[in-house]
Symmetry: C2
Amino acid sequence: LIRSSGLEPGVAPFTERTPRVSAARRLTRRVERDKAGRFLAEGANALECAVELAQRDPRVINEVFVTERFATRNTDLLVRAGDVGARVSQVTESAAAALSETVTPQGVITVCELLDRPLAEALSGAPALVAVLVGIADPGNAGTVLRVADATGADAVLFAGDSVDPYNGKAVRASAGSLFHLPIARSRAIPDVLAACTAAGLRLVAADAYAEDDLDEAADTGLLAEPTAWLFGSEAHGLDAATASAAHTALRVPIYGAAESLNLATAAAVCLYASARAQRVGPPSGGRR
Amino acid sequence: LIRSSGLEPGVAPFTERTPRVSAARRLTRRVERDKAGRFLAEGANALECAVELAQRDPRVINEVFVTERFATRNTDLLVRAGDVGARVSQVTESAAAALSETVTPQGVITVCELLDRPLAEALSGAPALVAVLVGIADPGNAGTVLRVADATGADAVLFAGDSVDPYNGKAVRASAGSLFHLPIARSRAIPDVLAACTAAGLRLVAADAYAEDDLDEAADTGLLAEPTAWLFGSEAHGLDAATASAAHTALRVPIYGAAESLNLATAAAVCLYASARAQRVGPPSGGRR
């Protein structure tokens, strides 16, 4: 069992001082992730998703560290990890805690290769729905929008400008595995991202709390049924002026009550679901109101 | 100006040791909030919202602490606070920091009376849309759902069972003022909450990731256009079995991609907006798909 799971028998568990563990630990910092081209994904669900992706692209998993406690309770998963060629090593509880960024570590850390693709590749195959995050700062928001985009069946998530690192530990956890489910691309050059979206046949729709038209109107006119790249701006300042004016359309989430606005993740959820529904229902057949 | 803003002239700024400041500081703990019947709302936006509510109900604001720096930059707001009879006192920067739970305090803390109302009062006036949070644990989620419910024009937010304290500092901040915008009620007795919703003419709709029917179908059949109390369960376990079986209907947010589920706040946003739109569009006039 141990052998089939990829765990080498008779090898003492790695400690915090084992070079591969301390190399992995450095990946909690962005600069080290960029340098090594790798990131950490914590927990059983992340390993599940990584293994599933590795069935199509075996390079995804660099290696897996597990505690004995985790290994004995998750033999099936580790066997599947072994099947896709992942190197699985046992670590001490304290090494697992050192690699973890959570309060109650599960005892499993997967070292993964960065998942970025070139923009054109992420947008290949006539995408219908794409989320573009422009200059967002909060890792929890990045991960939550990835999860929502995945749930709506979006074709890609793009990080444009000076955005948070989607491989930040908090972002990876908030994505709940969705980071492994759909193509992501990053570019500091916002115009390149917008041009790639336009070239892919997508309408650029800016989410803008001050836009004249709202989502309901856009659903009624059929605009939302078109292939769409939603542009979401920073938590503090929204979209920068240049990006906003490059968009083909600006839409706001309608506010029916006294709230001034929504936060980024909930606004993105409402926008992306409105598009997903409109694209499935198809254009309206006539005046419906 | 100082006089008209309610700030007493010639009084030395309060310090951390001033009894009213140390009494306020204790309100960062739930047990002390429950005992005193008060909570802290931090920041200029919270004071704005509290002042607006105090125009209808002057008891809302117990007192306001401001730094000199904040007072000189926000005289209009403080004049309005004075107009609704709020007692405004100057505190030192370090007293303001002691009262703050954020990294960069704005220099204004409002001590407010708890805003709870009895269930029947929160549900008076033929409500059309209500959010019920059953046993949720995360204060950020509580505040975010309050904000979303407010944005959708919901009539009330109810906290049922063993739920997080909506007056927790993180919840208050996440609500972005919405805590002051719509009626809230709390009850540990879940059946009482459900009975009150039913008595108010609301259909109890459980948000359940494993439900057979989804939001799109419910929008198409017209079910979502009915007066609705959405029941949202805990982040970890969803709704308890008794609550789920007491609901009239269970609906899931459709998942079009590979994500397993949504997080609580984004799911609530999608559900509440689907209801708000359906209630505005009205029941469908015929088969549309």
